[in-house]
Symmetry: C2
């Protein structure tokens, strides 16, 4: 498989971590979002949203959208499971994952930041904007997960933890006060201690700068 | 089941339509987002994101996040299917659905509009902002779906169509130019012609104003 990825993209991180945890070999092809490589016609033909990640299967099938890719991986390579077996438990893991994937990340990504700057926000106003949504979203996430266990939903990582690890990278990068989120800091630490997740972190990507 | 819903909420519409299509009886409990009912302590205890929808199962289990609820419905009430059986086809439907659920809606919802106004946007600037993301997102959606068939992925509706119908309500409300999106207008029309989807439209809710 080929994964089009950007080192700092947290949506790419989710997929890198899932591939690693499931032991699937892949080749990383960096897409430099800062240079606008996602808008190059050849790439935009693969990924009409002009974003990362894009996963190319061995038969040439093109998959986009990180959460759709995570579900495809889960259905195709079920072990180790990143979702519980019981439908209600799955829904709870998905809801927590989606607090990050739908309530925080889309409002905070690179293109939204650029659109805000084009409308008069300065850098500090964009950082305040990002921290506002992270603060609200993390508070909700913390109430949706279990209060004990190494990870958000027990002693093995789930899709929710993969979303969390990526968002924590951004939280630290933009200086979010993590004091109210001790449980999330703990989970993040446990997750980053797994070599498969460590290998998915931004600083360990071939295009890291 | 009890569905906490707001008539104009397109995330609520997705779940109403799925419940109707699957023939599941439910009682609607309106949450007036304009009055801030989503922030009332009793409601926020159910839904820490302080949003709609929230689905309460007959045993009291609380499910949040529209896309997680759609997947739970699919796993628990598989007929009629709103996702194809083949994992790659499922991933493609999910990717299209997520272009709306992750790339358009989260950047355009009521709380983001309010946050932009609190930061100096006037009403017209907020409308321009919403139309910007709808225009980009719809263009991508149109490239991710099939070019023929009554619905986005064939002759039966999927999760992607449910997301589309809701977003088209907002597109019309905010005056998006739909000329480039003839295929989406056609699909939307086919979807609204189904009585189960018609019953999920904003104007047919008990709290419609």
């Amino acid at each position: 498989m080929i994964l089009y990825s950007y080192w700092r993209s947290t949506t790419s991180l989710r997929v890198r971590a899932a591939l690693n945890l499931k032991g699937i070999a892949y080749e990383t092809r960096p897409v430099n979002l800062l240079d606008g490589a996602q808008k190059a016609p050849d790439y935009a033909a693969l990924n009409p949203v002009e974003g990362v990640p894009t996963l190319i299967l061995d038969d040439g099938t093109v998959l986009t959208q990180s959460m759709a890719i995570l579900d495809w991986l889960e259905e195709t390579y079920p072990e180790p499971a990143l979702l519980p077996a019981d439908p209600v438990h799955r829904a709870m893991v998905r809801a927590a994952a989606q607090v990050i994937a739908l309530e925080i990340h889309p409002v905070n990504n690179l293109k939204v930041g650029a659109a805000l700057k084009a409308r008069g926000f300065d850098q500090q106003a964009v950082v305040d904007w990002m921290c506002h949504w992270m603060d609200k979203g993390f508070a909700a996430y913390q109430r949706l997960i279990l209060s004990e266990g190494r990870f958000s939903f027990g002693d093995t990582p789930t899709q929710a933890d993969l979303c969390l690890v990526g968002q924590m990278v951004n939280a630290r990068r933009w200086g979010l006060d993590l004091a109210p989120f001790a449980r999330l800091v703990e989970i993040d630490e446990a997750a980053r201690a797994l070599p498969q997740i460590a290998a998915a972190l931004p600083e360990n990507q071939p295009d890291a700068q």
